[in-house]
Symmetry: C2
Subunit: 631 residues, 2 copies
């Protein structure tokens, strides 16, 4: 028998204390300032704080040539990826290809200063590129007014930057958590499908096409212009695609050959350029990129367009694409950090991304983040620090200053092949199957994003899926499961009677375990559900015990629910007891005087105490029964 | 020492089973069909089902004269309230006063057939009346085109009915739960303030006024027309208001005098009529209602206006006012049922309200629900069944057929006094103070509704408050509290070390209790928080035990979080154990193969088992320490 100990009715904490602790748990759960806030020496504290906020001061002083060798190799590798990807994705965003190259020069330098991930490689991403274009196309056509369109792209990138850094400064990283992994899986898959379909334009060398992104419109555009199909283009495209897929296959078979798939896009571009130059591709059904000027990024701050006419669409494009880019960038930074056993502060990363995009939008760059493919290549190529991004920027500078015009001969079909090949990897069947097996609702969320993106539009698809996620979160809290506890024979353990058949209950006593917060959204449910438990028992219940260890929070409605329950039970001559309320819950019970209403003698520290007490209060005949059955 | 029992790894339930059980818990938590679904005799089952769905078949067959006596008295009392309230609230909705009287004839009859609450009295409500008018005024002015305005009011009432009955049929009563009690308190208070201010128009006999509802506009309208102020009107108004407040005060002091406050509005109207008739009020600064035609409700189905031009505004007015009316009607039905130890099915009530408003909108009625004041009067007057509503309808019919023209002499100032007096009771200082004391966030929610309604507009106020509530619900699930458990000396109990100072922990073993569902919105948080617990321990942790009794659900992200944690801990040579996963959680762990990853030997049924096992695996020196310290 266990000695009886009472519940601790210490005076509730003050409002200030609770607010501070709630604030800390909500916004600073990982205690990010631990690195410097407890430092006694104030000079050292300032130094640590600067190192925390601007990570380059942390890693650069200890940088050495040994690390540099690795970073140069990794930087060179990611540059070879950055050139074809930059050109391709800029075309996805319906802006001049050179902007894609500019975007691999300035932003990596900014990230090297403010970013905290060692492995993240900065670059443009396909999904966000297409997303910006598809939202802006709702207002302005890139064909009718390409200059205005480009300026709106810069402006939306500026808003992305403001939004991202604001989220970071306000420590609202938790917003990104509401983009569930299943949403992102579905969204990426759907995006990959529509991007692949878009590439049919380049593959078949079409000149007329649609600016819509859904499957039906795109297929219609492809098959309504069969007269424009160019077989030369298609043949070249399929050859390139096969080459890219083959190198990818080799790399997957043998991870040490990762450089083959990393280099193959650049090889494709170079071979394509030479080929198109030699056969004068433009005249033989193989259109090329055309017109890439030498020179570094021109300043574009004067092009930011805050005209109220376009404001809503640029803000919308900036926020949605920024959110998607953040989700990708942070998730990737985190997963590589976990692999290497390091931690990453999502809020700090947001600030770095934000600065990258604000400064980028003023220097002719568009939206950049940490793309998965480039980061994986960077990691595999053995990068050691953020220096690999600097190396990439330097190589990109050389390309912009001297080599850019050479790439003007790149056949469009080569770019299409590169994009398609990259997209194939983003459709994750196995992930979807895993979701289907483990959690049907997660699967539904994933599919709603996938089909929403493919058949309606990218922004609506992602919003549908996020809506479902939030609905699920609200359902979780509106319908918290409760269960009846019984005693496992020969132990002192009380467990869910449905989960552990064979548990013994005491006649006349109903022991229920509640869980989740008890509050306005589930007060009515919990009351009805508890009353149903009592009805379902059938036999005479004389005592209801509520085990509240799992109730993590309560509000005034939750307390009103318990009071109502007590009133209803009282009228049926059923006693009610509470077991082990947690700190926050007990505090509210004390301040709301619920403790006085129910009486301290009906609040127990442990199930044993409560069962013992209620057994004692049962009427004599019941008592006799319970002794017979429970032992 | 407790005997060791294992976790029950039964085969997870099939998808169908889980779906059915989830469906039932979500939509049918109170098992509403229990009354007839288990009936063996099929004739009896059908009879019970009809009685369930159409409650009049349940109570009418057992009805007798003894009950009727009480219902007639109650019905007469609420009629005396219905006449002045009907006229007053119709004026609040900017529609002809007679519509208010019509609305107390048809809807009560419908409710008597379909409604399940014995005490609810049907009628119009001030808040929803003003709400409809304020939303519709955004599109159409009731002064410029009163006929169109009236038709739009009917149409919005029709949409309210469709919406309410759809919610009921789909069993989405849980939506109403998201209108928290604190939101309603704030909303009612704010509405009462602006309605009182609106009455200054009637009190001062103003002719020019604003259709806006916010405090600033209304005060501006009152004080910018001081030249229109009529002292005669103000004097009469203050006399009436004093009379009404005095009877209210008497009734509150002595509940048996409730009839005094119930009758006083009718007395006010009658005295006002006689007074205005005798002195020819219209000519002496006391305008009257004017023009009330004899006759029953004309059919209005042909007036329902589905013109796309007005569709969005009528739908919006219908949904928002319908939601508010539902929240009031259901909450009131429930609280009186709890008083009398009966239960009410919110979804069935919604269907009844829906029918009431659909049929009402076709018979020249506008939005009706179960108003608090009338229901309380009905209850106090001793009503026994829904028959009291029928009695009211009959009396109202007599009034409409014979007496309506008499009320055309009612002075507007008398109506203003009646409304103001009713509104004073809706401002609940004590409730707000209670919220402030017990739960600051609830107070914030309440205040946002109060100030939003008073200073911005009714719909924005309520949306702000609901938004805050949902934000709170999401925060609850995004930041579930975790705590470190320690053993209370001389017991076998493990409790929160922060709540119960003096608990003993085993060196090298960290025992954490998680709570709430573990899923996409809090996966990152939980991982970071657990890692922080480990860091904060300072000393060498060799084993982390997670107590999951309070984790009511898990999704794929939640499982991924646990896997990541295990990987991170593995790299630090820390063992990880899981204690007492609940049925749903364990099922997902089995299907996702997490059980195989962590190993069944690391999943424990009880804290004791887990502590014993990890103590055994600690290195020898640690073990020595732990033996010394824990006993």
């Amino acid at each position: 028998m266990v000695a009886s100990h009472g519940v601790n009715y210490a005076t509730p904490r003050g409002f200030g204390t609770k607010l501070r602790s709630g604030f800390k748990e909500t916004l600073f759960p990982d205690d990010p300032f631990r690195q410097f806030k407890n430092e006694n020496n104030s000079l050292l504290r300032i130094k640590r704080a600067i190192q925390y906020f601007i990570p380059i001061f942390y890693w650069l002083p200890n940088y050495n040539f040994g690390l540099f060798k690795y970073d140069v190799l990794a930087g060179l590798t990611i540059t070879s990826l950055a050139i074809p990807q930059g050109i391709s994705y800029a075309r996805l965003a319906s802006i001049p290809p050179i902007i894609g190259l500019y975007s691999s020069f300035v932003p990596p330098l900014i990230y090297a200063v403010f970013g905290s991930s060692k492995h993240l490689a900065v670059g443009t991403v396909a999904a966000s590129s297409l997303l910006i274009a598809s939202i802006l196309h709702g207002k302005v056509s890139s064909q009718d007014d390409p200059t205005l369109f480009l300026h709106l792209v810069f402006t939306s990138c500026f808003f992305t930057g403001i939004f991202q850094s604001a989220l970071g400064f306000l420590r609202l990283g938790l917003l990104v958590d509401f983009l569930a992994h299943s949403t992102i899986t579905g969204f990426m898959g759907g995006t990959a499908v529509i991007i692949c379909l878009q590439q049919l334009k380049g593959l078949f060398g079409l000149t007329h096409f649609t600016t819509k992104t859904d499957v039906v419109s795109v297929l219609h555009a492809v098959f309504s212009h069969t007269n424009e199909w160019k077989w030369e283009s298609a043949v070249v495209g399929i050859v390139f695609l096969s080459f890219l897929q083959f190198t990818r296959y080799l790399s997957q078979r043998n991870p040490r050959l990762f450089w083959m798939s990393a280099m193959s896009p650049l090889v494709t571009v170079v071979i394509g350029c030479v080929f198109a130059y030699l056969i004068h591709g433009d005249k033989h059904g193989i259109p090329t990129v055309g017109d890439l000027k030498k020179g570094l990024n021109p300043i574009s701050i004067q092009f930011l367009n805050f005209d109220p006419k376009y404001l809503s669409v640029t803000v919308q494009a900036g926020l949605i694409s920024g959110m998607v880019a953040l989700a990708e960038g942070i998730a990737i930074g985190r997963s590589f950090a976990i692999m290497r056993n390091e931690t990453i502060d999502g809020n700090k990363e947001m600030i770095a991304f934000g600065f990258m995009n604000i400064i980028g939008s003023c220097t002719s760059c568009y939206l950049t983040t940490g793309p998965f493919s480039k980061t994986a290549v960077n990691f595999n190529a053995g990068c050691r620090t953020q220096m690999s991004n600097v190396v990439m920027a330097v190589f990109m500078m050389l390309v912009l200053l001297f080599l850019a015009p050479l790439f003007s001969h790149t056949p469009l079909v080569a770019l299409s092949a590169i994009i398609m090949s990259a997209m194939f990897g983003l459709i994750k069947y196995d992930e979807a199957i895993h979701l289907f097996k483990v959690d049907k609702f997660d699967f539904l969320i994933c599919m709603s994003a996938f089909f929403g993106v493919s058949f309606i539009s990218m922004d609506i698809g992602i919003m549908m899926s996020v809506g479902l996620c939030i609905l699920r979160a609200l359902l979780y809290v509106a319908r918290p499961p409760s269960c009846k506890l019984g005693k496992i024979p020969d132990t002192a353990l009380y467990r869910d009677a449905a989960q552990y058949p064979g548990t013994v209950t005491i006649p006349g006593v109903l022991l229920l375990q509640l869980g989740s917060p008890l509050y306005y959204a589930n007060g009515n449910y919990v009351r009805e559900r508890v009353l149903r438990w009592i009805r379902e028992e059938g036999e005479m219940i004389e005592c209801l015990l509520l085990e509240l260890s799992g109730v993590t929070a309560i509000d005034t409605t939750g307390i009103a629910t318990l009071s109502e329950l007590r009133k209803i039970l009282g009228s049926k001559d059923i006693k009610m007891g509470i077991i082990n309320p947690r700190l926050e819950v007990l505090e509210k019970m004390i301040t709301s005087k619920f403790v006085d209403v129910i009486g301290k003698e009906n609040i127990y520290l442990s199930i044993e105490d409560a069962v013992e007490a209620s057994r004692f209060s049962l009427s004599k005949i019941e008592k006799q029964n319970s002794v017979n059955e429970s032992n």
